[in-house]
Symmetry: C3
């Protein structure tokens, strides 16, 4: 019997190399970059930030989640060989960041983390099937959905007790403190907005992420920077809670929307740039609205606002190609 699909048998070294690449790409795909180097920089940023915040278990959780969800894809392979591009790992790494951030560090939590990370790979396959007719995909929603399930379950199951979840409440308490709007502080809030994509509260991590993005795509880094900046400006203008602003909590979803719309699902041009800016504004309000929505359970929105906003802005399937740009357009010339 000849295996025409596999012309040359893979050596053990090949397999290890492929697996490591799949895993690292899984890290990079959180921000839509199919690059092992980008993924490595993201992991470095996670390790730096989690040790800086005295939460080393977050970094190790990220690794475990990344491996578990990639493994799940190897066990039950999908029709499309998505995993080699890192599409098995990006939900799992986020599960791995979220569980040790919000739940107590017990062995049952680690089992739940492993199981939940595996679930995301299979759930992603199902949700992508659902969304295929409209040419959108599930983004990080498998992570969001399954992590919500487990964080809610943590309220009912003392075996995986919450460690750092807000108390469920109906109204946000009086907001203490004042926002420092010096230039240096704003830069820190802006970088934390990018770091919070992986739930890390460290501006250094934000720098790692920007560098990692730039390694694979200059535009991705630029749009990430723009997304966090616009969201920061809107949060200050609409007088959001200073504590959330200074931790970068308004930044992470707009960062993802910006990369998704600005240079991943649309080509870079002036039309798509305007559309992306509008999408960033929408993501900001959806983030604020979902913050209020989650209050009665005291669980975080995770990257849900990014998913909702990006679906809403991709579903109309507007054509924003370069061809739409008149040659004599000032903006068109500037950007071409």
């Amino acid at each position: 019997m000849t295996t025409t699909n596999n012309p040359a048998p893979l050596t053990a070294a090949d397999r290890v190399k492929l697996s490591v690449r799949s895993i690292l790409r899984g890290s990079g795909q959180v921000m839509f970059q199919q690059s092992a180097w980008t993924g490595l920089f993201f992991l470095l940023g996670i390790f730096w930030g989690s040790y800086e915040c005295h939460l080393p278990q977050v970094a190790w959780g990220a690794l475990v989640g990344l491996v578990a969800s990639t493994l799940a894809g190897y066990i039950i392979p999908d029709k499309e060989p998505a995993g080699y591009d890192g599409l098995w790992g990006f939900n799992g790494i986020l599960v791995g960041c979220a569980f040790p951030t919000f739940l107590a560090d017990t062995w049952l939590m680690w089992i739940a983390l492993f199981v939940c990370a595996m679930f995301t790979t299979w759930v992603r396959s199902g949700l992508n099937n659902v969304m295929a007719p409209w040419k959108v995909n599930s983004f990080t929603f498998p992570f969001v959905l399954m992590t919500w399930v487990f964080l809610l379950a943590a309220r009912e199951l003392p075996g995986i007790a919450p460690a750092a979840l807000s108390a469920p409440e109906l109204t946000i308490g009086a907001v203490a403190g004042h926002l420092d709007v010096s230039f240096g502080s704003l830069v820190i809030f802006w970088l934390k907005g990018i770091a919070q994509v992986f739930l890390i509260d460290s501006w250094v991590t934000g720098v790692f992420f920007l560098v990692g993005l730039a390694l694979c795509s200059r535009w991705a880094a630029i749009w990430a920077a723009i997304g966090s900046a616009i969201a920061l400006g809107l949060a200050i203008l609409f007088k959001a809670d200073p504590e959330s602003i200074s931790a970068g909590m308004y930044g992470f979803s707009p960062v993802l929307t910006a990369i998704a719309l600005g240079c991943t699902f649309y080509k870079v041009n002036i039309h798509s740039a305007i559309w992306t800016v509008i999408g960033i504004v929408a993501t900001f309000f959806i983030q604020a609205g979902m913050n209020a929505l989650m209050l009665p359970w005291g669980i975080p929105t995770l990257t849900g606002p990014f998913c909702v906003a990006t679906w809403l802005f991709l579903l109309p399937a507007y054509k924003l190609d370069d061809r739409d740009l008149p040659d004599h357009s000032f903006w068109g010339k500037l950007f071409k």
Copy 2:
């Protein structure tokens, strides 16, 4: 270069006329009437009612929302030229009624209103793409969804603070007062049920709306009247909160379901009439259920119950054509 699609160039006067017609039809389309005259009567009713209730900003908000959402359609045109039928404006006018009703009258609120109204046009395009395979559309849900987002966001963003939202709570307090069931009062509650489609608490506005409907479709006016009446009867029978009943809060969603099922998506006949009455009953219970659902956030259902009920009753795609009516049927003869 010849522009074969536009055989005769439009004059400036033509363009103004077309734009005004698009805008007025946007008002009429809230109740499925593609008529500028109906839209004008709706606007008159809104102006009358909002001045009567000492909330003139609601009427001006309606106009701003109508123009903003129609403008959004002109800026990023869809494949189908839906806007000329008023399909760009009907979500925006509702956003424009809702924002000044629930939020404080600040300049940031007006910016949010404008932005949210524009969003509805694009969100509608996306949601209609999603629903197209089942031959239903998004109705007023883009308004409902985006207004929910902004009303929730208002809890987090003091820049757009709530002015008239209920406090979030888990149980409705003891209901004070007694329902006046004299004939005159019932007529007022019934008319207010129709007026509340645009969030107006005035029976005179209800009369304006009925007249506006009758100008375009006698059956639409009849079904609006039936929808509000059945819902009023059920609310009394099942002992709903007197305050809600007397403000018409149980009427507006059944009114929309009645027009949608009774004479818009089905032809008028005895089979569709029975189906519509069942749909009105379902809308009443869905309205009550969604009232309870929204309690923890203190935000209104808006026309969500109408959307849910009408989707549920259109999705089975039952054939209720005239051909199904046996010729010897008493009811068939009466209505033919």
Copy 3:
């Protein structure tokens, strides 16, 4: 005129027989068994359990709901003659169990029960149309959705006041008591997990259900038993509330997921068995999560966790056929 579709006219006795069979199959289809005998055993179990619990109205409610929803299918017939297989009745019988369990026994409640049971048949038709492209169906979700609507509405409508709903709350109170983990108690909890599929708190009813299942499919009985057992083990491991565990509240959804995945939508083999066990684990966590989700309204999850889990595990459409099993596989040989 010849009616070629009906070669021989049905006698009155035939019609009665067909109707009774449709109704009894409706009972059996709750656990995916198209068998009137299974349905009869389920009804016997319901009658036994509801009389044992001094809630006879639950048994009579089950009958009324079963008849009402089957009737709804006869009144507005669907394209597919699904009703003769019992597919009209299984949502209605669950509505009929739920209403008298949670709501006060008034004549308005019985009207609401009848109406809601009829709605489920039509809602099922619509939801199945929505889900058809992905080859999944709505399972018991029409029951779940419409019962949620009416239980929520009961908070607003004193005409259908709650009798045995939990108070809405944000956090679960201190859990009193200690779980008895003697073998005899565990068997009782395990059987109650099966009985709770129809909301019955009686281990004898669980025996009736297992026997009823075995009459139609030995594998269905085995998977029901496995589903309840795994969920019970996980609930103890993760330290769930003893009161819920001992009433079988963690068992009913995994039981349904087990039958659905293990021997209904997949053929019995070792691959599908592993997939089913994973699905049971997922259902357990989704059950715990949805318990927390419903807290602010004090309404039960019903069989929602089963629906969500089974959709998530069918949507990837993984091929788990016998052909996938290598002939030399130990497990493959064992099960073939």
